[in-house]
């Protein structure tokens, strides 16, 4: 929202020496965030009002016309202008030869399209008001031609307040409310608001407007007034300039006046053509009703749309926009002025459903003060009379107020104030702070009783903490010395889930040398099609970020594979890691699980075996590191729905005998589908479910020990047929028991020319020893014989 400093000065005498930037900074730190402060410097010099006497086309040009202007003292000049609309008898802002504005420099005389052109009619744009190209600002007719227009009308400071920072403050949606805060900040008085007394408005001797509110929950108050002697002349120039400064385009006297009140008090108003509206009813739109708003658009009304109706016929979208049929036009001679108060949620809901957010609806959504319906009419009449002395009131102020907000009085415990602010705030200081903001403070023995002004009592301030905030922000957040808190020490059970995740991430990104990355939570359908993966039932988004992004992931693999494709040109090899959530449909509640996903890839045909073992090594290390337990790998039935599972290379990752994940390599077929170049790559992957593992308390690992007597290492190479699996051999070795046996470890495997065809040699290191004595040669020889006997009984050859 834009605030004009000139405008603000109507309500508070901000001293000339106050730097607007400083004011903005103080406002930011006390009330709401100022986003920008800038100077409007029109640089007007020598401008005057000039009356249009005649306008004629210049045939040789496309859009230029010749205007004859009365410039005062009986002088009439001719000037060429691009202004699209000029009305005879209205005043324009005229720069005689020698006058200047910053945007155009000094204005002179010129020959344009063969005609002598003296001076210039200034466009809104040249005066810093956003209008259509060339469009001129009209000055009020009361100004005699030749009247100098003072430069200070044009120059101003504009303060832009972040709308998001005042969503909870309906009172700050106009200059008056901002002025109240500024006055309080600087300890200045808030000047009286120039209004016409209610008594006068209520006392008009004419029939009141029949008003009816069907649902007081949706419409708290409706106030109206009929006016005759409707102005057709433009609003005063100063008023138009102010509207321009706060980003509103001057349109016509009536629109400008109502907009001015809205920007002044924050209360939206609407003017109906009085001849077309007999009475006012506030009610709900009929089902499927179609209504034409004043922007000419026909709109089908969603259910629960609040309407202003007259004898059952809709005439406005309550709080959002008026209707075309009752719009004021040039033919309008009488007005029905509306100033109402609607329920915030109702207006918000309709505005969203209609896709129609207006300045009015934006304000009603904040829950406005119902007191302002009448106050705004009082102000409107005062302002309009000032501009248009011919204005007549043709009805008394009519008011239907079935649903006032209850007055709010809050008990404030002094101890709670001290506790929050961090120091004691004496009653006098509380009064000094709250008084200018409109609060009344009555001191009780323990509590303060604070009555909240109506403009803060519509949901903004209703509990003690709200009042304490007012006190605290005026004590000055940046003036309170920082103090670290005094605390109660207590012990917390560590969050088991995070412990597991942290250890997992630390291990894989550290010792195992993976690079962590983050992926989105949802599948990309296009990518799944590329992969040939049909995920089945997923937890789904009702409003996905884009088409095809509606399914939440059940596995981290598609994302990791996509990341691999993205990185393949930049690296010869990469190891990718992600820890994140996956989701599963379940009864009665859909479930979320935490997973770790790992992908190891290298540009090397046939490197799968090595990568697979690298991953296996990493997972084994992870098991010890995170849980003090051995991870094992069991046979797995390949999930054919998941194209990244290799038909031969897939294993189940197990901990404590329970399957917790999968280890596999990406089959050639999938590499081809993903990206032709990846066929030259080896890709292994693993995915493990961490959820559930938090219950495994990390076991303390037994440390190594120095045996009392030396151990002896004996190596055995076991010759087996190539298709015999290591696991099978290891199982058989585990069956062997012997009092001297300490450990059997795998050393390595060998295939090659030194061996018979189709044979493989697996080497094991067997460690033997005795706790009570040193072994002698006979012991080891006897052991060797027994062990070889066992191997032979298993059908294995021993290779010497």
């Amino acid at each position: 929202m834009l605030i004009s400093l000139n405008w603000l000065r109507d309500s508070v005498d901000v001293p000339a020496e106050v730097d607007p930037h400083e004011l903005a900074e103080r406002f930011t730190c006390t009330a709401a965030e100022v986003e920008d402060v800038h100077r409007i410097e029109v640089g007007a010099r020598g401008l005057i009002a000039a009356r249009v006497e005649a306008v004629s086309d210049l045939p040789a040009t496309r859009n230029l016309r010749l205007a004859r202007l009365d410039v005062g003292d009986g002088r009439v000049i001719e000037t060429v202008t691009a202004a699209p609309v000029l009305r005879v008898g209205w005043n324009v802002v005229y720069a005689p030869a020698g006058a200047a504005v910053a945007k155009l420099g000094t204005i002179g005389q010129a020959k344009v399209a063969g005609r002598a052109s003296v001076g210039m009619i200034l466009s809104g744009d040249a005066l810093g008001v956003e209008m259509a190209v060339g469009e001129a600002l009209f000055a009020e007719p009361a100004l005699a031609p030749g009247t100098p227009l003072p430069p200070e009308w044009f120059d101003d400071w504009v303060i832009e307040i972040d709308n998001k920072s005042i969503t909870h403050r309906p009172d700050l949606w106009g200059h008056r409310g901002i002025a109240r805060e500024v006055a309080a900040m600087y300890g200045l008085p808030l000047k009286p608001y120039p209004v016409v007394a209610v008594e006068e408005l209520a006392g008009i001797d004419a029939p009141p407007i029949p008003l009816e509110i069907q649902d007081p929950q949706a419409a708290r108050r409706y106030s109206g007034l009929r006016l005759g002697g409707v102005p057709t002349q433009p609003a005063p120039l100063w008023l138009q300039l102010r509207l321009g400064r706060v980003g509103m385009r001057p349109i016509s006297a009536l629109v400008d006046l109502t907009n001015y009140i809205m920007a002044d008090l924050g209360q939206p108003m609407h003017a109906f053509d009085g001849s077309r509206v007999e009475r006012i009813e506030v009610g709900w739109a009929a089902e499927g009703e179609v209504f034409r708003t004043l922007d000419g658009v026909e709109r089908t009304l969603p259910p629960q749309t609040l309407m202003i109706q007259s004898q059952g016929r809709s005439i406005a979208l309550a709080g959002i926009m008026g209707g075309l049929e009752t719009e004021v036009s040039e033919a309008t001679t009488s007005l029905l002025l509306e100033s109402a108060n609607f329920d915030a949620a109702t207006i918000r809901r309709s505005a969203i459903a209609l896709g129609l957010r207006t300045d009015a609806s934006a304000r009603f959504e904040k829950s406005l003060d119902p007191v302002n319906t009448v106050l705004s009419i009082q102000r409107f009449v005062a302002l309009a009379r000032e501009c248009y002395p011919d204005l007549k009131l043709t009805s008394p102020l009519s008011d239907c107020f079935p649903n006032p907000f209850p007055p709010v009085t809050v008990k404030v415990n002094r101890r709670h104030v001290t506790r929050t602010v961090g120091r004691e705030v004496p009653d006098d200081e509380v009064r000094q702070i709250l008084g200018p903001l409109g609060f009344d403070v009555t001191a009780g023995r323990r509590d303060l009783s604070v009555s909240v002004p109506s403009f803060r009592a519509t949901g903004d301030v209703d509990i003690e903490a709200d009042v304490i905030e007012e006190i605290a922000r005026y004590c000055g957040y940046n003036r309170i010395p920082e103090v670290l808190p005094q605390v109660t020490v207590r012990r917390f059970e560590p969050c088991a889930r995070l412990e597991v995740e942290r250890r997992t991430l630390a291990y894989f990104s550290g010792a195992a040398r993976f690079s962590e990355l983050h992926q989105y939570l949802w599948y990309d359908s296009a990518w799944l099609t590329t992969l040939g993966f049909e995920p089945g039932a997923c937890v789904e988004l009702a409003n996905p970020a884009a088409t095809g992004l509606h399914r939440l992931r059940q596995t981290l693999l598609p994302g990791l594979l996509a990341a691999l494709v993205r990185n393949r040109f930049h690296y010869e090899a990469c190891a990718l890691l992600e820890v994140g959530s996956v989701f599963e449909r379940a009864e009665p509640d859909d479930a979320e699980f935490r997973h770790v996903g790992l992908v190891c890839a290298r540009r090397q045909k046939g490197g799968e075996n090595e990568l697979y073992h690298r991953l296996k090594t990493a997972l084994e290390g992870w098991g010890w590191e995170c849980f003090g337990r051995a991870v094992s790998f069991g046979p797995a039935a390949v999930d054919t729905a998941r194209p990244w599972e290799h038909p031969q290379r897939t294993a189940e990752v197990q901990l404590e005998g329970r399957g917790i994940g999968r280890l596999s390599a990406v089959p050639l077929e999938l590499k081809r589908r993903m990206e032709e170049h990846l066929t030259a790559w080896a890709i292994a992957w693993a995915e493990v479910r961490l959820t559930g593992l938090e219950k495994l308390s990390p076991r303390t690992e037994a440390l190594g020990r120095i045996p009392p007597h030396p151990l002896v290492e004996l190596d055995f190479s076991v010759l087996v047929r190539r298709e015999v699996r290591y696991a099978e051999v290891a199982d058989r070795l585990r069956e062997f028991t012997h009092p001297l046996l300490r450990r059997v470890a795998y050393v390595g495997s060998y295939e090659g020319p030194a061996l018979p065809q189709q044979q493989r040699s697996l080497t094991f290191r067997v460690v033997v020893g005795d706790e009570t004595r040193t072994l002698v040669e006979e012991d080891t020889a006897a052991f060797r014989a027994t062990f070889e006997q066992h191997l032979a009984s298993c059908g294995y050859w021993t290779r010497r």
């Binding site: 730190c29 009330a31 965030e33 920072s165 969503t167 915030a344 949620a345 918000r348 969203i352 506790r419 929050t420 602010v421 509990i463 903490a465 709200d466 304490i468 605290a472 922000r473 957040y477 940046n478 309170i480 920082e482 103090v483 670290l484 808190p485 605390v487 109660t488 969050c495 995740e501 991430l505 894989f508 990104s509 195992a512 040398r513 993976f514 690079s515 962590e516 990355l517 983050h518 939570l521 937890v539 789904e540 988004l541 009702a542 409003n543 970020a545 996509a562 990341a563 993205r566 990185n567 930049h570 690296y571 990469c574 990718l576 890691l577 994140g580 959530s581 989701f583 859909d590 979320e592």
Partner: protein, 356 residues
């Protein structure tokens, strides 16, 4: 064998050894030769056992002859050993001289964590030093914890479709880490000190500075006398720690339904040092820490008595902080999966000769 024969035999042995020595190429071979000659069963060594074959009167002389021979052989062997060792030392010295100790180490990729994780861990360590515990909550959150419990009623604008990712099961992807506040209060009661880092989601159009998926850290502290100055002091400590330098803070009112009073804590822009730049929209300040005193309704939702206890809560934009700390200009790179902008090049590529 008489003494004369013995002398002759010894001379032969000695001559043979001396003749062999020049062809002995290394110390191991030399040791073998020494053993063959001087060992118990060696050519000379074995002669000692023949002493008892001589008459007692001669034995002394025999012994002397043998020992003298052994001494000479030993000296010859030692001479050769010294020569061999010198040669080895020379070769070693030559090799060392040819060695280039300035060659870089091997290229072995290092692992790395995501920049957001790195900042998150730093913050977790800080808060653990301050006696906070670290909590987690689900990313798929119940509407109640994401909204109602945080004093965000059904009519609040934050409930709009356009800000929240709704699931068809009526749950939401949490829009903030704040739901953990109430979950933690219910789990632990007061007094309480937690932080809760995690991923959040907002229905938002993605561009260089907006993401629909980002990280926050929630902070919550509840005790008997918690004040706004406490909150500011802690926030200042936090920002100094994360940026690893002293920073200035500015505190101003802010509005969030779950705190009252609500505050915004700004940090002086680290890019322009407060002078004004596009990142701080020329203001010199960066909004980093929305926070405030926990709203009594939120305390009540967590079954904490607002009369006995007060507390503060804050939500720190981890993603933004990581971007500022690492100078990441485009937020989209963080979830893109491209390693280049999120991993230090040297971690993956090893030592480089030069880089610009």
């Amino acid at each position: 064998m008489d003494i004369e024969q013995l002398g002759q035999r010894i001379a032969e042995i000695e001559a043979a050894v001396v003749a062999r020595l020049p062809s002995v190429a290394n110390v191991d071979d030399l040791r073998r030769v020494e053993n063959e000659v001087l060992g118990k069963e060696g050519a000379l060594g074995a002669l000692i056992t023949t002493i008892k074959e001589y008459p007692p009167a001669q034995r002394g002389q025999v012994g002397q002859v043998i020992n003298a021979a052994k001494g000479r052989v030993k000296a010859a062997l030692d001479g050769r050993r010294a020569a061999l060792e010198a040669a080895v030392a020379d070769a070693e010295a030559a090799a060392a001289a040819a060695f280039d100790p300035t060659l870089p180490g091997y290229v072995e990729p290092m692992g790395s964590v995501h920049p957001v994780t790195a900042v998150q861990w730093r913050i977790e360590r800080l808060f653990e030093r301050l006696g906070f515990t670290v909590e987690a909550g689900p990313e798929m959150e119940e509407e109640y914890y994401n909204f109602e419990a945080l004093n965000i009623p059904a009519t609040h604008p934050a409930r709009d479709m356009q800000d929240t990712f709704w699931l068809t099961n009526r749950k939401v992807l949490r829009t903030q880490t704040s739901p953990v506040q109430v979950r933690a209060m219910l789990k632990y009661g007061a007094p309480l000190r937690i932080i809760a880092p995690g991923r959040c989601f907002r229905y938002e159009t993605i561009d260089a500075s907006h993401e629909n998926t980002f990280h926050q850290v929630e902070g919550l502290m509840i005790d008997r006398e918690i004040s706004i100055p406490n909150l500011i002091a802690l926030a200042h400590t936090l920002l100094r720690e994360v940026m690893e330098r002293d920073v200035k803070v500015r505190v101003r009112p802010g509005f969030f339904p779950f705190v009252e009073p609500g505050l915004e804590i700004d940090m002086n822009c680290q890019i322009c040092a407060g002078k004004g730049c596009p990142t701080c929209k020329q203001s010199g300040w960066i909004e980093v820490l929305p926070c405030g005193m926990v709203h009594p309704n939120v305390l009540l939702a967590g079954k904490v008595d607002p009369h006995e206890f007060s507390g503060f809560a804050f939500g720190l934009g981890l993603t933004r902080l990581a971007m500022m700390k690492y100078g990441i200009g485009d937020i989209r790179v963080l979830n893109s999966g491209d390693l280049r902008p999120i991993v230090a090049a040297r971690r993956l590529e090893g030592p480089v000769v030069a880089a610009v």
